[in-house]
Assembly symmetry: C3
Homo-oligomer: 355 residues x 3
């Protein structure tokens, strides 16, 4: 499957992982999650190697999992520590442990295959206002997207769709498609930026910043941190006389579940009105409404792509420059990771054609 594997993916928000076993399919592999008694997150391959029963159907004893079928037991490193019917435990009776780390209220998992070397660094998500000084961030509950993750990346890297898919839900979204985006890259993050210039501090901006009167510079950006994380930043505005830009971010983490479905994590961060809980709830609600529209659109798109039956060759336009660059960004490592392996799934995705 066409997944970049040498990546950190969001496996869960911190609150989802507990002393109750959780199974989640990631990059089409079943993984079981839990916390040790000391609170550290653990991710193990999800099937007991004895008869392939899902470990999430078992139960914890201390930091170990007892398989729910025949009682074979594994510690938090994935090593077998007990077989009921025999004393000797063979080395090969073990399950893989995945590297995990907990940053920004999210548990991240490294999906590099065994033997592919040490995990790389996590993307610097403080740039999206997560675990960053002066910012707060809040999460929506997990969404499930019944579509391949690439469609969500395309969606988020071309915010001109705000003017159409979200015409009713995004304030001032109607103006987005008409503004030509600029592309820039900095510290490994690819940004597709729309600068609206001086606009009146009205509408949504006034709602967020009632203390600002007059015109402000307004910016909207899609920041691509890698195939698992994109930040849709904006409005970013500056009050005359203030040195710090006021930023609001709708951040998105997409983790492939299967070739045709995606775990979709979403939250909102900001560096103003930090104590306003009602504002957090309102922004999360607005983000959820927008996401519901995207999920419906991408589900329809996925269904048509699977049904086929038309000439499915895409034709790209000038506004796609950012999304196309991201596609190449994703495609290259997949090809490098997979060597000469033919990628059936990738082949089904039509190659973009510039015009």
């Amino acid at each position: 499957m066409a997944y970049p594997r040498l990546q950190w993916y969001v496996a869960a928000t911190s609150g989802e992982i507990s002393r109750t076993l959780l199974e989640r399919r990631i990059l089409d592999e079943p993984v079981v999650f839990y916390r040790t008694e000391s609170g550290l997150p653990v991710a193990l391959a999800g099937l007991c190697p004895h008869r392939l029963y899902p470990l999430a159907q078992g139960r914890l004893t201390g930091d170990a999992i007892i398989c729910g079928y025949h009682g074979i037991t594994f510690n938090s490193s994935g090593r077998c520590v007990h077989i009921p019917s025999q004393g000797k435990i063979p080395d090969r009776m073990s399950v893989r442990g995945y590297p995990v780390q907990e940053v920004g209220g999210m548990v991240w998992i490294w999906m590099g295959p065994p033997g592919s070397g040490a995990p790389g660094p996590l993307p610097d998500i403080s740039r999206a206002g997560i675990a960053a000084p002066g910012f707060r961030h809040d999460f929506n509950p997990l969404f499930r997207l019944p579509a391949r993750y690439q469609l969500l990346i395309d969606n988020l890297m071309d915010l001109s769709h705000l003017s159409f898919v979200h015409a009713a839900t995004v304030p001032d979204g109607a103006h987005v498609a008409g503004v030509e985006p600029q592309i820039s890259e900095s510290q490994g993050v690819l940004s597709v930026i729309r600068k609206f210039g001086q606009v009146p501090a009205a509408g949504f901006i006034q709602f967020l910043h009632p203390d600002i009167v007059g015109d402000v510079e307004n910016t909207l950006t899609s920041d691509y941190f890698g195939p698992s994380f994109i930040n849709a930043g904006g409005p970013w505005i500056r009050k005359p006389g203030e040195s710090v830009e006021r930023q609001m971010n709708f951040f998105h983490a997409m983790t492939p579940e299967t070739p045709h479905s995606t775990h979709y994590f979403n939250g909102v961060s900001r560096n103003f009105s930090l104590d306003n809980e009602g504002l957090s709830q309102m922004l999360l609600g607005q983000s959820a409404a927008v996401i519901a529209e995207d999920i419906r659109a991408l589900e329809i798109l996925e269904a048509h792509m699977q049904a086929g039956g038309s000439n499915l060759k895409e034709i790209s336009v000038v506004g796609d420059a950012g999304a196309l660059r991201v596609r190449r960004n994703i495609g290259a490592p997949i090809q490098a990771e997979q060597g000469d392996t033919p990628v059936a799934e990738q082949a089904k995705r039509p190659a973009p054609a510039r015009i």
Copy 2:
């Protein structure tokens, strides 16, 4: 797929196509339908070539469709007339327009592939009492048949099944299977005719024609106008002294949706009691009851054909002569249209064997 493509198919009844975009899958292609401001029906390929989003999710502006994802706009010929992010519009940014015509309260679509020449003539459905002098016709709502269209053609061309599938719903149907059918061809229509000879004007005939007393000639026929249209005509009777035969027709249009499902259009026509609205409703209701039985039977048959697991070689009988001739009628153009292409779907359909 084993569809005859150089054919007119019923895409919709006239009332289904309006200023609201309608997507319908025809021969496994998504097609979007609407009417221009002047009321003409339009059929365009259903997916925007930019990112393959279904055009039916967009909206009309005048006679043009604005795609609901990124706003690319196409006129009623399928030519792109607007791209939000750029001024120049490349020629290849267009969608196919299908030939359509509106006849007999139905919108017909020509599914010949691009480059296959001009559409042929529509079948002369006035022979089924549609848009014919002295006749009226009425439609049932669209049925969906979860089975391949060939099964419906087989079904309609062998009305001996009236004696079994419809033993409870078709008046006097029990006698059909015992009457040997005659086959004739005239003006491109293949007819499988059952002549019942002199029968008393009782039962259903008396209900339809209370003014007739005594014996009448009674005829039942399946008229094959092509793979998209079949008329089941009968009872056709003549009142002594009248020059015009009194005809009642249950006509059927079958349009493949996918390899395993079919849009099933149905209506009733007659040349007597033209002002009797109650009679129209009663006949449509009876037809719907019969069709419900056929849909259930063909759904079961389709499911078993897909499940496989038995020796699926058919053995035909004398009564199948008409249906077999139709099968050859369908098979030949498909082969001719497809050249040497192996037809996987066709291969799954067992070849008929004469006995």
Copy 3:
């Protein structure tokens, strides 16, 4: 498909087969069942060879079936005896009749392909207390297992899972996994026996046998009669001074429906308290509760095996010796029956690896 075919399978309990036509898919073949007017069970290939319509949709006339589509009629041997549209009946218009016999309140069907010789003998199920002197047996209603039959065989041949899957429902089940099983073979039945030695006649044993005080020998066994029938016997105990062992059996018949689903027949037999109807009901209820747990576990396992995505190579342990011997027992005849045919389904099932 990887089914042993030269076997007797339970097709139905006796009460399921009547003068009402019953279709049941067996080894992925549709079969129609009924009784003749004299009460004998009949099993015919399920599809009419004319247009492949399921015969179970037709109706009986005497001992013959009239197909519900076009009225072609077959007697209880599968020979065609009537075609409505013609007088001559060709020899090839016939359906296969399967050998059946009715033993122990069950109708058994021989699934050997045509030309594979006479059916072999039925397994001697009197050893499971069925139709055996001094025993009674009762049936649960049919269960449907949404998993391949091999998973059920694995399950029943390794009763150590009682300690985990059924920890809450099986009395004293917690002790099973800790007892090393012995394997023996006698009269073609492979037994995996757990001898618990002298145990107090307490708990479940006391409930079953209130007249016994003190210690008793207790035995639990899985008896493999072939791929279609396994008896889980126990507790088997002996009252001091009695010559006959008191036996209770939970017997199981598994009949593949499709490659991924199984008809699961279950009942209970015993040679004590024969007139206690309440005890029968209680034991059937307990067995149904246990089976519900197994069905849920095996459904989860089947789903994960179909989803794939992990290293699905099994690692076996000492306690698997019985189940592995059965797997070889099943695998050998399948290979012999199929000759060199590649068995796609079998290949999907990972080969067991001894450790």
